[in-house]
Each structure stands twice: as structure tokens, then as C-alpha cells.
Symmetry: C2
Subunit: 761 residues, 2 copies
């Protein structure tokens, strides 16, 4: 855990330059706009430790799988998030001495991310190796108003000299991916062009042949006047195009470089026109200028914050933490493009590749449901519907048939790209999360038609998978599900994981309901669907009903708790509080077998199931299971605490709820797990939001109504959040004086506050 | 399966040259002598598909581990068998046209491995690209009389031309390892020298710094007269030294090159003297000449065959198969050096790295016990004793303490080098096999003193491991062992694998007996051992006794069979005969999870346990378990069938025994698994020997007496085998006329033949 960032309500602030922290800051200060993103790398050259990262949504490379021991069924490729061509470079040298913060004396270094406006600012004074000193102030953003535009305002002032400064401004596709399996470069040049004042490179990914055009155009001013450069040299090499030139600078006089970038992908533009269109986008941006672009950008952010801000009074660190999480989620996924999804690192790093895990459905969807217009979360669902054929193929590879669908553990284009057998093949509860997301979306939005449009097909595919994945145990006289890994990944290849069995039977039930509903409301559409998926309705649904009726669920009658899996009680049942500090975190200190045979839980999946289906269980059952499992849970997944916060809140365990909330609220800001340098934990940030809104705020939707049941953490003075619900924005404020709810926009609405109906208007 | 090798009682014969089969033949025709080995690569250049392999026993390279997903506890390195510097090269060209069988027209190609004498012969006629035709006859062997010497007799005759031939004879350490994880070369040059007629390279392995000196010296004759070469050019480059020269050849006249090689390792010679000593060994070999060296070599083989031959009448393929297995095992491990062991590919390939698996104890030890003098198998045991400290370290890494020892799954120097969590950390039954081997050795040889010398320390270390690896299940009121993988690797991470639980409790019992015995017979030595290992005798043995008493063993009361693991009966119980042909082999056709949750068994480990401890079980129990498990067993491990042959033989299932025997007897000769090109399955060859001797022959040792209970496979006329037992050689011949037993050497001995005592003299 680190604590080097200043606490501030709206800003992330780093003061002083510590090269050892640079990669962490590069992650934390990342900016993006849903289409492109950029780590907080320096514009200047930097020879110190850095992870360069420019990202273009939806563009990936299928890197040849690397394994120690191949298992039949592994995918050939792992779809990697790509470090894309760089648009930020502004290299500066004076008389051959480079401005390179790894080699200069650096003073007054400050990096600020203004979350209100999505603006990254950096300022410092640097003394070059020959003693010349420059002050620099750079600002940049990725436009939320136009997802293909980035802009930089890079101002510098010679502090102790006058003379000539050499500048190189460029775009560069000759970039590496740290996460490459075989140290391969993933980009090839398609074309490039450069002329005074501008440059463009069109690069394509190997194998996938995505084209990305990266173009830049710049202007230089001094005291508000445009500087005309006498002679600009065109610098071109493989995958690289730019301008090199000298300008005269005067001691104490500020020079400002405005560098505008356009980043276009062949996902959105025809390849043959992409260069021209990039130039067009670039010229438009250039014409608007930095300030106007920024105003448009800031307006979008203003609107976003109106929809989804959470305020916390009395704890600036907590306020900063929750806003940081909301900020990152908002700039990662805007919901405008149903081909996109939320990668585990968003636009802040390459690690884990892929773009889509079950995190999306289980953690991110509730955030976008609660903070964005309906189409945003709908697009997340449509994304999976578009991948249905691939999910069916994926299941076929594993021996399933007749339209059974297994969604991949990790994917970019619908194909599985993960390769650990105990996860890829066995962590199949993800299929349940995808089914549940359809229910969750409809419950929240009331958009039942989605079933007819897309949802039912997905549900049928998933139900078919479950029906084939269980088998009849003659010994138990029940259906069982063997060889699975639950959300608690500290167990592998177990039999009858309670959570997986539960969500599987739930899916089978819900699919039957969905069939009835679509039949009733959209009879013709149902016939089309039944025909397309070749549904043998009676045969299949009666099989499903049989499984629902005769499914086995491990249970301990003595303690009256559900058992995480078969034979869980054979373990030595210890508590996390029995562990020595030096054994934590277990996943860094214990060998894998020791973790597996211990009772310790990464995230408690019985509780995950109880959280999802809480209305199925009495408060006493919830309490017994929470009291049994939580003390064994080490929460070594960043996805773990939020579910426990929500249940602890429900059970009135205030201190526990707050303790668990703290574990994720500032996970990246404080580099809690010592891995933020690889990128931020984007998807788990949604869990932090859930902790506040569904946990402390007790928000849920039941029978079409919004319920709140808030409590006040002792450590805070007040907190408030805004909820987007069926075309309304509702603000809830909780303080020691009580709870106020306010309809900020939309039609009047009846909500349920602490079990009492309240009319908002 | 292939069938291109001619059937012959003593020879392996390939006729005609098929480049597609070349790598398979390179494996099958490999030669070795326990210290060095050589795949059947060509002496000439060969630009076609080949796996070059020269091996020096005990020399390895710790290659950086390659995994997809790192698990805490994985070793940093995988000790790789090394392709060592090559000593066989004789390159030939005529007027710039190379003799390269990939580019020549090849006629009359024949490769013969004479197993009686360990001689590899190859002959062919080749037409070079310019039409010149040569006949070649090459012979080579790795001397069994001097493990550091190899010799080649390479004769060639121009068939349609006279003129000059260019020859290059060399040693070459610039070699690659196919199995390298990162395409790295593993050898560096230390020194080299070359002068007319000879050359030497001393190379060292990176990281491990083994030195290997490879030297060659040659002589050329025509019609028995030594050819003096006018001018020899020295050819030297990095890691390479040789001679290049021209000789005159005459149409129809044979020229013979005698190339002698010395291969010395720093395991046996001081590094600073290794070059000089290599030259010394080389000069000695050269002085003796090819024929004398060969005679000495052939005599050793003659003696070996007298000890261990098996004859089969009426089935030449079976005869050839069993001799091939004995031949390979004998040339892989001679038992003279207790630092060595039996790698899975012996000297026939690199794959799987390491040199030691549990195969050694479970399969190879019985072979060497039955065919070699006592010290050979004793050295296999001493090998593990030498690694005890490393096994204790290995257990510590996994969280065990107080002298608990876990022997590695795969090792070269005692350190674990495997990296699949479900095997490395969980396939711990290997520890039981190492304990059992001590018992097995003593049972066979009567050498109880071995316990005091080395055995007891190993047993205590292993028992401590078991005592810590089990835990008390409050639920079962028994000790349980969670999270293991049994010998049946088609189950991973199961609870209470019956075999592992059984061999663990057996170890705990046997260790207590061993303590009593050593205390009684070697009281002082016992005190030393107890002090060295810090034995808390009473406390530890009473814990062990408690575990023995209260260990849990899964059992099905209905069928009265032991259950392979907990919840085995939840599976859908099918038979292998229910599987479609297109699903076989499962490990190539089914995804891993499907294999895991199916009932199908790679090798039946309940039966493995019953085989090891057969006197613990009634014939009815054996039958019930065999009848339950064998029909579910796919035998997709080459180690599987032999155990089943032995039990089927005991149960009188003659047809089943023979069917299973056939699966391994010619595994490599017929390339049954389509992988012989990577090397032969050396360790499983011992299982074939066991199938004949312990299976068909019913050989076992009980209370110090040799028992035989032979039956006659219907397909054969007769078979015979020789057994080395306590300084006697006993020959057993079985035919339809009955069984004859004969003491071929040693003192008179009472044996038990079909339950009746027979005195042999």
C-alpha cells in the first residue's frame, strides 16, 4: 500500500517526481473517452521506467497462446489489448541535450487529474545536462465529445537561456506490447504521410488486419501569436512520421505547442478512406482549437457527473476514491457501441488481455444501469447476443451439442482466449451471470421486450448448456454438476459448487418463464426464435423442469448453511483471524495446493449467490451463511468485498460493511495490491459503486419499484448518490439527520424508502 | 500405429528410406551405454527432417520455466536433458556435391540395430546431384566396456567414378535443443584444439557449468592399408573443431574411415584436466582399434543378455518387442553410478526433460532387481537418499516443516522442475512409491541393512510429509487427504484418492517397523539417525499410528469395491466399450474437463494399489475391483497396462492379460502412440518386462522366497526368462508341456512353483 497521492475531492494530485512511482501514476492518471485511451506517459522522451500505453477500443491482436503444458481444448490464441500507435510525442532538445526527466534535475513536478473535466495537467521545471532550465506545463485530454480526438497543450519557458530549441512532433506505430507472449511487435505499416505541420500513419495489426489511422497536426504560439517555423524537416521511418524543426526561444518567454490528434479505427471507417477521414477529423479539431474542444469535452463530463456523482462528506479520501472509480468507469465505457465492452484494465494497461470477463455482467452492469441511460446497459447485453454463435461453437469444442452455449471466460470477439483448464473449461458460472444480467436489466428497466429481441435466444443457449453439463447421480438420486470452479477461485475442479448449481437451476427456471412471456406477448417472434434455435419446446423444457426439481445442493444440516461444494466440511475450518500476517496475501505466500485444500475463500460464492437471489432466502439464512463464510474469506479478489458489503449492510453489520468497503475504495489510488503499475482494476471499481449504492444505500429494485434502505457509516458525515431509473434521475442523500430523496428529473415516481412507499415528484 | 520395421528375433531392421519415418527410426535405432547415448542420426550431412541427439548422462540445463499462468510455488527452472556436442559427423562431398540423403537418390537403404551386440549398421547407395554414385556402409556403437568411447566404421565405395572426395570430420558443440523453452542454445565454448587427424572441443553448459570434452581421432584405410592424407586443413569456428581434406578414390574401391570419439564429463573428471584426459581416452581407443573395441563391447552385451534375456517362441514380433525393451533399458542405465537415473526417454530424445519420475521406483526398479546385480537397484535407492535434503527443501517451499520430505515429480538434481499445479503439488503419491521401493528392494534382496545405511532417513522424511499432509475431518471423524492427484491423472485435485491414502498409511506403518528393526539390529546407528533427523520418536510414531488407525478410505458397500476417490459414484458409470472409436484416445479428442468429469481412467490407481499390496486383499476383493475398474480404464498411459496384465494373470483372465500385454510390447517399434519420433518410452519398457515376468510368469517374492505361477498365453509356443535373485541366475521356461526352472548359476535355492516348494540346484 502506498499513500503518495494528495487527497482532494475532485482531483488526483501527485507532487514531486519519484521515478519508482512513475508507472503507478501512469496508470492512475490515465485518460480516455470510451473509444481511445492513454496512459499518463510523458510527451517528451523518457528513458526511465515506463509502460507506454495508447489504446483504441475494439482493436486487438490474437497472440499465440503460451502454456507450460497444453490441454486439449485450449484456444490457439489469446486476444490481447494492443498498445496502439502513439499520438502524444513531443520531443525537445536544446543544443543536443534532451529533455528527458530520467536524466534531468526535476523540480516542482506536479501531476493533476481533474476528474470533473477529464483533464490531465503536468508541470515541472527541468534542468538539462548542460544546465539549461525549462519550465513545462502540459495539459491533455481525450475528447468525450468526439471519441476520435485527443489534444495537447504543451507550454514551455526557458528559465535561464535564450536560443534555439529542437522539437520533434510525430505519430509512431513502431510500438511494443509488454504483454506480448513472444516479444513480437503487433503493428505493420500500411501507409504514412507527413508534411510541414502534420503527419499521419496508417498501421494495421498482424493477423486481425485492423487499420488504425493516427494523425497529428500542430500549431505553436508565443504570447498568443502563431509562430511560423522557417524550415521543417520531415522525419519518416518505418511506421513513423513526424516533423523536426528548430524554433527560437527567449528566456522567460512561454512557447505553447498545440498538438491535435485524430485516431480512427477501421471498426468505424472503411479502410480505403481511413487516412482521408483521419485528416478530416484532424482538420476539424484543429479548426476548433484547444479551448473550444476542451469546452465541449468538459460539458460532456459535467453532464456525466450530474447523472452519477456520489458525494461523501467528512472523508476526503473516500470522496476522492469513489469519484476516481466513477471517473474511470465512465471514461472506459460510454455504451454507444455495442461491439465494445469493459476490459479489466480499461484504457490503463494491457494486462489480462481480452475485453470481457463475467465482471461485466456481475459488477459493471449494475453500475451502468444505475448511472446511465438504458441503451448503455442494453448494449452490454446485445454484445453477448452478438457472440451467441461463437458461444455455441465454444461449447461444441468442449463436446456440447444441439445449440448449447458456453460463453468464454475471457474474450474479445466472442472466442475463448483463456487457457487454464480449471478456469477456461470449469469456471462456467460465467454463463449464469450472463443469463442473470438479462433478468437484472429487465428488472431494472422494465424492458421486457428485450427477451423477444435478443434475450431469449441467449437464455435458451445457456439453459441447454446447463442441461448437458449436469449428470444424473445414481448414488445421490439427484442431478449433480461435477468438475467446476466457482467464483471462489481458491477451489478448483470441485463437485457441486453450490453457487453454480444454484444459478444453473435459476437459469433453467427463468428461461421457462421467458419462453412463456415471449410466447404470450410476441407469439410470432417466438415462433421465429423457436425455429431458428430448433427448440424442441416440450422435450427441452420438461428436461429443464426435471433438473430444477431434482438438483442437488450441498447443505450442512447441523449449521443450516449451504455448503460451498461437496466435502467442504472435510476441511480444517479456520478463520482468517487465525492467519499470521506473514501468510497474507495467501496467493503470494502459499503454494497453490495449500490454498486449495485450506478452507480460505477468495470470494465467498455462496454469499455471491445469496446476494443475487436474496429474496429467495430468509434473513436468518443469510445471517447464518454470512457468519459461516465471511470469517473464512480473505477477499483476495478485488471483486470480493462489494458483495459482502451489501450483505453486511443488509444484516446491520455496519462496522464490517465499512471495513470491507475500505478494501476496494482506494485500491488503485493507494496501490493496495502493489500492481497498479500494470493498470487500474477497472471492473472492480463498479463494485465500489455498488458498495455505496446497494450496500450503504440499500438500493434494489423489486417488482418494478426502487427500494432504498440506507444506513450511515459512522466515519462519514453524509453521503449522497444519484440514480438513473426509468428516465428519472433520483438523488438520495443520507446523513445523521436522516435520508432525503429527490427527483432531479423525469416523471413522478413512487419509491420504497425503508419499507415505506414515498412519492417523488 | 506403423508397421515398417521387419520382424526379427535379434535385430531391428528398416529397409528402404522414407524421410517421413526418419525421426521415428532415429529414436528406435538409438544406441547408448549408460553414460552416453546417440540417436540414429546420420554421420553425413542431412538437410531433411531430423532430431539430432547426443546425450551425456547427468548433464543438464535448468531452462527458465514457461507457463501460461504462474502459480505460487512453481519452480523457476525445468532441468532439461541436453542435446550434447556431436561426435558422429563425417561430411562427404564430391566436386561440391554433398552426400545428403535428403537430396540424393537413395537405393538399397538398410538400417539394422543388432541388439545382441548393440551395433548400429546402415548401408545404402546414393546418387549425388551430378550423377556420381557412392555405396556406404556405416557401423557404430557406444562402448559398453568403456562408457566414454564411441566408434564409427564408415566405409564408402565410388560406384561410377574415380577422383577426389572431400571429407570433413569434426566435433561440434554448436548444437540446439528442440525442447528449449526460449530457443536458446545451452552450450558455450571453453576451449578447442585441432590438428591433423584429431580435434577436440570442451564446452560448458550455461548456468550449470558442466564441462563436456568431446574429442575425435580418425584413420582412413583402403584395402586394409592406411591412407596418408597429403594436406589436412584445420576447420575451427565457435564451438567447432575438425579436419577438412581431400582423398583420392577409385571406382569400385572401398575406403574406410574409422572415427573414434571420447566424450568425458566434468561429473567424472576435473575440469582443468578434462581435455587432456579426453585425449588420453581417445588415444587408448584409437590404439585398440575398431575391432578390438567392438569385441570388448560385444562381450559386455553377451553377459547382459545371459542375465536378462526373455525368449518367446511362436511369435517373432513379440520376441523382438520384448528384447527391444530389455535392450533399451540395459543401455540406458547400468547402475554403476548412483548419481544417475532413468529418464523417460533415456538416450533417445529430449522430451519431458528431467531424469527421474516415479516411473523409476514403480516400474524400473523391479526390472533392475530381476535382471541385474544388487548394486544396480541399490544405486537407484541411494540416488533418492542423496536427494533427501532437497526433498525436505521442496516440502518446505510448499509449507511443510520439521523434516517432512516431498520428492519432486520430475527432477535432475533433486530439485522439483515440473510446473503444473495439479501434478507438481498434488501428485504426491510419488512419495509413496519411493518409500515402497525401499521395501521392495529389501524384500527382493534381503538387504535389511539398507534401512540403517540410508533407507530409514528417507522413510522418516516421507512419513512426516504424510502426517502433515492429512488433516482431521471433524465431519467424517477420520483423517482425510484433500486435493491430490493419483496415478490416474484423468482426475485432478480430488479428495481421498484411495491409492494415495493407502500408500500413505502403508508408509507410516512400514516406517514404524523400520524404526524397530534398525533399533534392534543397529542400535547405535539408530541413535545417530534419530539425532540427525531430530526424531521425536514417541510423539511422531504415535501420531503416525493414530493416522494409520483412523485413516479414511472411500468404499462402496453395495459393490464392495474401494472408491478411487470421494464422490466417484456421482459420475455416470460407463464402460470403455461404450466409447466411439472417434473419441479415442480421449486425451486427444476430449477437452480436459470432459475427461475429468467422466468415469474414464487413464490408469486404474485402485488396481495399482492392489497390485503393490496384493497380499492385503483376498482374491475376491481383487476380482471385484478389477471387474469394476478395468472396464472403465482407457490405458492412455504407457505405464498402465502392465499392472493390469499382472492382476489379470493372477485372476486367470488370460485373454485380457494378453490383450493388455500387446498394448505396450511394441509401443515404440510400431509407433503406437504416434510420438516415437520424440524418443522411445524407456521407463514404460520396464512394464513390459514386468508383464511377462510378474504377469505371465507370476513371479513374486514373499517371505524371502521366489514364487512363480506361470501361465501360457494361447498365442505362443513357449517363453522363457532369466531372473537374477540373491546371487543366482534362474531360468524359467514355460511351454504347453509345462514349466521348467533351472538354476544357471549360484548356490542351490528353494523356490515356490505354483504354490509348491521346489529345490533348484
Amino acid at each position: 500500500m502506498k499513500d503518495y497521492l494528495k487527497h482532494h475531492e475532485w482531483e488526483i494530485i501527485e507532487e514531486g517526481f519519484d521515478p519508482h512511482l512513475n508507472k503507478i501514476s501512469e496508470s492512475v492518471f490515465s485518460i480516455g473517452n470510451g473509444r481511445m485511451g492513454q496512459r499518463a506517459n510523458f510527451e517528451e522522451e523518457y528513458s526511465g521506467d515506463t509502460l507506454k500505453g495508447s489504446y483504441v477500443a475494439g482493436v486487438y491482436y490474437p497472440d499465440k497462446t503460451r502454456v507450460g503444458w497444453w490441454k486439449n481444448g485450449y484456444p490457439e490464441y489469446f486476444a490481447k489489448v494492443l498498445n496502439a500507435p502513439s499520438w502524444i510525442g513531443i520531443h525537445i532538445s536544446v543544443d543536443g541535450h534532451k529533455l528527458d526527466l530520467a536524466k534531468c534535475k526535476v523540480e516542482d513536478f506536479k501531476r493533476v487529474l481533474d476528474m470533473r473535466t477529464g483533464l490531465l495537467t503536468r508541470s515541472f521545471a527541468a534542468t538539462l545536462s548542460d544546465g539549461k532550465k525549462l519550465r513545462v506545463l502540459s495539459k491533455r485530454f481525450c475528447s468525450m465529445a468526439n471519441g476520435e480526438v485527443g489534444a495537447i497543450r504543451y507550454a514551455f519557458t526557458p528559465l535561464n537561456f535564450s536560443g534555439k530549441i529542437t522539437l520533434s512532433l510525430y505519430v509512431d506505430a513502431d510500438v511494443v506490447n509488454k504483454d506480448s507472449n513472444y516479444d513480437e511487435k503487433f503493428w505493420e505499416e500500411v501507409s504514412k504521410e507527413a508534411s510541414p505541420g502534420r503527419a499521419l500513419v496508417v498501421a494495421q495489426t498482424k493477423k486481425t488486419f485492423f487499420h488504425v489511422a493516427t494523425a497529428m497536426k500542430f500549431q505553436i504560439t508565443t504570447h498568443g501569436k502563431i509562430v511560423t517555423v522557417d524550415r521543417i524537416n520531415i522525419e519518416q521511418r518505418e511506421k513513423f512520421a513526424g516533423n523536426v524543426f528548430q524554433i527560437d526561444v527567449e528566456e522567460g518567454k512561454e512557447t505553447i505547442i498545440y498538438k491535435y490528434a485524430a485516431v480512427l479505427s477501421s471498426e468505424n471507417h472503411p479502410k480505403e478512406k481511413i487516412a482521408a477521414q483521419a485528416n478530416h477529423v484532424l482538420d476539424d479539431a484543429f479548426a476548433k482549437g484547444f479551448d473550444k474542444l476542451f469546452d465541449e469535452h468538459a460539458k460532456v463530463w459535467e453532464h456525466k457527473w450530474e447523472e452519477c456523482d456520489i458525494t461523501i462528506e467528512g472523508d476526503i479520501a473516500a470522496q476522492q476514491g469513489i469519484r476516481f472509480n466513477i471517473f474511470q468507469l465512465t471514461q472506459t465505457y460510454t455504451g454507444e457501441d455495442e461491439r465494445l465492452n469493459i476490459g479489466p484494465k480499461g484504457f490503463t494497461g494491457e494486462k489480462y488481455g481480452g475485453s470481457t470477463y463475467w465482471d461485466t455482467e456481475a459488477y459493471c452492469l449494475p453500475f451502468y444501469l444505475g448511472t446511465s441511460e438504458q441503451k448503455v446497459s442494453r448494449n452490454l447485453l446485445v454484445y453477448r447476443h452478438k457472440h451467441l454463435a461463437r458461444a455455441i461453437e465454444n461449447a461444441q469444442k468442449l463436446g456440447f451439442k444441439d445449440g448449447a452455449a458456453l460463453y468464454p471466460m475471457v474474450t474479445m470477439n466472442g472466442e475463448e482466449c483463456h487457457n487454464e483448464w480449471e478456469i477456461t473449461f470449469e469456471e462456467i458460472h460465467r454463463n449464469g451471470a450472463i443469463a442473470f444480467a438479462i433478468f437484472d436489466y429487465i428488472r431494472y428497466t422494465g424492458d421486457e421486450d428485450y427477451l423477444a429481441d435478443h434475450g431469449l435466444e441467449v437464455l435458451i443457449g445457456i439453459s441447454r448448456f446447463w442441461a448437458q453439463r449436469v449428470n444424473w447421480s445414481a448414488d445421490k438420486n439427484k442431478y449433480v454438476m461435477l468438475g467446476v470452479t466457482g467464483p471462489n477461485e481458491y477451489e478448483n475442479n470441485v463437485n457441486n459448487n453450490w453457487y453454480t448449481n444454484y444459478i444453473a437451476t435459476w437459469t433453467l427456471k427463468y428461461t421457462q418463464e421467458a419462453i412463456s412471456l415471449v410466447k404470450k406477448k410476441h407469439g410470432k417472434r417466438f415462433e421465429v426464435i423457436a425455429d431458428v434455435v430448433r427448440l424442441k419446446e416440450k422435450e427441452e423444457t420438461s428436461k429443464w423442469a426435471d433438473i430444477v426439481e431434482k438438483m442437488y445442493f450441498p447443505h450442512d444440516p447441523k449449521r443450516d448453511v449451504y455448503l460451498q461444494q461437496d466435502n467442504f466440511l472435510d476441511k480444517e475450518l479456520l478463520r482468517v483471524s487465525d492467519l499470521k500476517q506473514e501468510d497474507r496475501p495467501l496467493n503470494q505466500k502459499w503454494s497453490w495446493d495449500r490454498i486449495l485444500r485450506s478452507c480460505f475463500i477468495k470470494q465467498a460464492d455462496v454469499l455471491q449467490g445469496i446476494y443475487l437471489f436474496e429474496d429467495d432466502f430468509s434473513i436468518e439464512t443469510i445471517r447464518k451463511n454470512f457468519d459461516f463464510y465471511e470469517p473464512m474469506t480473505v477477499h483476495e479478489s478485488s471483486l470480493s468485498p462489494c458483495v459482502h458489503v451489501i450483505l453486511a449492510s443488509k444484516l446491520g453489520y455496519k462496522a464490517k460493511a465499512y471495513e470491507l468497503y475500505l478494501r476496494t475504495a482506494r485500491l488503485d489510488l493507494d496501490d493496495y495490491n502493489n500492481d497498479t503499475e500494470d493498470g487500474c482494476h477497472i471492473t472492480s471499481m463498479a463494485g465500489t459503486w455498488m458498495s455505496v449504492v446497494k450496500g450503504f444505500g440499500g438500493m434494489k429494485v423489486k417488482e418494478g419499484k426502487l427500494h432504498f434502505n440506507p444506513f450511515m457509516p459512522d466515519q462519514w458525515k453524509s453521503y449522497s448518490f444519484r440514480i438513473e431509473f426509468r428516465n428519472r434521475v433520483i438523488k438520495v442523500k443520507v446523513s445523521n439527520e436522516g435520508v432525503t430523496t429527490k427527483l432531479e428529473s423525469g416523471e413522478p415516481l413512487e419509491i420504497v424508502l425503508k419499507d415505506e412507499a414515498v412519492m417523488l415528484s
